[in-house]
Amino acid sequence: MPTKPDLSKPPPATRAPGEPIVEITDLNVYFALRANATARLLGRSSGTVRAVDGVTLSLAPGEVLGLVGESGSGKSTLGRALLGLVPATSGSIRFHGKELTGLPESQLRPLRRQLQMVFQDPHASLNPSMTVGRAIGDALRIHKMYTTAEERRAAVGVALERVGLAPASRFIDKYPAELSGGQKQRAVIARAIVLEPELVVADEPISMLDMSVRAKILGLLDELRRDLGLTYVYITHDLASARFFCDRVAIMYLGKIVEIGPVGEIFENPRHPYTKALLGAVPDPDPSRTVARDLPRGEIPDAADPPLGCSFHPRCPAAFGPCGWEPRDVRMVLEQRWTIVPADHYAREAKLVHDGPRFASENAVDAASGSPGEVLELLEDERAARPADPLWKGVAGMSVSGRAVLMDMKPAVEPHLQQVPGSDVAVSCHLYHPPTGSDPAESNVAPT
């Protein structure tokens, strides 16, 4: 029996076990889009991108939380917001109970000794005109950790040997250009740990490295966690390394967490259709595995104009009635049709409707050169050709009205991250928490 969820409290899966060191509550990070010069003069904005959209989670000391998603999912922005590198639009980030959002840089800076970051590109994160020793020593100088240059140099040496750049005397006076990619990333990690931080945000730390070095750097991060008691936020699009390295994983799509839980459960029993798609897409070096890949259609939508309801619904193979269908989704289905039907059909049909944003209004598909009757005929023809397309589960009726085809869509309900009963996982999907009046049995894919 679907019951009305209590949305005032975050689902337990977003909370870390024990006393958290970081607590993020309902965090939003929006970026204003730059409009053209006239619009800016007139004070018009051309919209906002919700890079992080209502994220709640916490981190326990010593755990590795993975933020997994594709480019544009907001995972890096979330990581940066955590360190105050991008300002939060609203919501709260607490570090040991201390609120970080809204703090001026002068008060954030001392805190950054405890909050460090390792970036993706080791070639870009070291200053080419500073020796390794100076780059790492500078961090100590800025945070006034040792009084004399000798003490600092000794601490740098210890950090270098800790990350495997031993003997330190061989590396401390080298310039980044004299180091290989793996060695540079080790130096970047040394610069982070020399400050003895509690939390390290590692943003794709191995993705720019050669295959044979990735295992070494990931092994080093794992070792440091054990030896120094570090807590990590591991940002990646590589599911294989996330599975190996993380304790908990949050899967992100278009600024939102769509699924979160312990790594074992997420990988063995993925629930959200997006998580399933991601896992199915990972190429596996075992050639005996010949799984036919069902990939979600289309592309990640424009974050400045996200889909209604669940952001994933236009691409989701399991989407059904309440997922957020809109008339503009019809365009995607037609474009798919036009890559299949003969070229002369396309030439005729494409003229009937508008291109781009004029294709549909809020509740109708507008007719262009043709009559609305012809447009309706085209849509009916497409429905007859591919009746199982998830789009049609959201269409209650179509009728001609004026110069347009009125689309009667089933009401959209926005999904929320909710605990799956009997598990440690929370998922934001109507298949698991169907809104009243909807039936997940309608979906082409049964929930697991």
């Binding site: 295959m211 699009h237 991601l278 070096p285």
Partner: protein, 336 residues
């Protein structure tokens, strides 16, 4: 058996470096039949991309190419430059890693196709050119409505599909895809791999897929060639090689790959050698866990069943040749 489209034998590509000639490709032989996909794998700096460039005749100034590359029965290396330029594009296509930097930002997609087709197929009419372009785009799932858009209006994955469509519109018999999915997200990467499978069924070109991702090789290739320090050290059907890798380098590469089933991390000690003065004998011997006395002295010949260059496969070695080699400890200092 059909005749190979491409037959490469003893190819060498050396180019000038500050400390002497760099032997980036040093005696490579392989053949590709129509519709076959050969995966070329190895760490960075093993000569994978140089091999691809060498086949295309796109090596930098000051480089020397030697050996034979027989394409469709003609020797590419001995033919005049102009004739070879004509074959490039029409006969052989190239797909690069970064689609954004390969498409002209000021040209519509339609203009890219028009230019390529005009250059190579002079007798096509404008209408035929457009039909050919649209056919290639449709095959890659790019809606015809986007034909007159500019490159910046597409996502990274779509741009890569447009690059592939551009190569396919000329109907080449042989395509080199150099890390075609490296900069892309998992889902987009999987889409491109699916597309490669479809292309084979529809157009059956021979494809040389250069990648460092062994997962991609397992999913998309028929055969695999493992390259180390300018040489192909092991070559054979993907299933055979991955099920029973014969060369210690192939074994180490497979072990160091992080996959969804990884329980423990493994890595290969050290880094690929400097190709100005590669190690004597077997080039992998300084990093090889099972190196023997003979390894630094004599280059290993090829041994079956799938071909690998490794002395371990020789059962007739004398006891002194097969004795383990004393090696120096490899430290992080030598890491890639």
């Amino acid at each position: 058996m059909t005749e190979p489209v491409l037959d490469v034998s003893d190819l060498r590509v050396w180019y000038a470096g500050p400390n002497g000639p760099v032997r980036a490709v040093d005696g490579v032989s392989f053949a590709l039949r129509p519709g076959e996909v050969l995966g070329l794998v190895g760490e960075s700096g093993c000569g994978k991309s140089t091999l691809g460039r060498g086949l295309m005749g796109l090596t930098p100034r000051g480089s020397a190419v030697d050996g034979t590359v027989s394409f469709d029965g003609q020797d590419l290396l001995s033919m005049p430059k102009r004739e070879r330029d004509r074959l490039r594009g029409a006969g052989m296509g190239l797909i690069f890693q970064e689609p954004m930097t390969r498409l002209d930002p000021l040209m519509r997609i339609s203009a890219h196709f028009d230019e390529a087709l005009k250059t190579h197929e002079k007798n096509l009419s404008k209408k035929e050119r457009e039909a050919r372009a649209l056919e290639a785009l449709r095959a890659l799932g790019i809606p015809p409505t986007r034909f007159r858009n500019y490159p910046h209006e597409f996502s990274g994955g779509m741009r890569q599909r447009i690059m592939i469509a551009l190569a396919l519109a000329l109907r080449p018999k042989f395509i080199i895809a150099d890390e075609p999915t490296t900069a892309l997200d998992v889902l987009v990467e999987a889409q491109i791999l699916n597309i490669l499978v479809e292309i084979r069924e529809r157009f059956s070109p021979a494809i040389l897929l250069i990648t460092h991702n062994l997962g991609i090789v397992a999913e998309a290739c028929d055969r695999v060639a493992v390259m180390y320090a300018g040489r192909i050290v092991e070559q054979g059907p993907v299933r055979d090689v991955f099920a029973a890798p014969a060369h210690p380098y192939t074994q180490a590469l497979l072990r160091s790959t992080i996959s969804l089933t990884t329980q423990e991390l493994h890595s290969i000690a050290g880094a690929p050698p400097d190709l100005v003065a590669p190690p004597t004998g077997c080039r992998f011997h300084p990093r090889c866990p099972s190196a023997m006395q003979i390894c630094p002295q004599v280059s290993p010949p090829k041994f079956g069943p799938h071909v690998a260059e490794c002395w371990l496969l020789d059962s007739s070695l004398s006891e002194s040749d097969a004795a383990p080699l004393d090696k120096q400890e490899v430290s992080v200092a030598d890491e890639a």
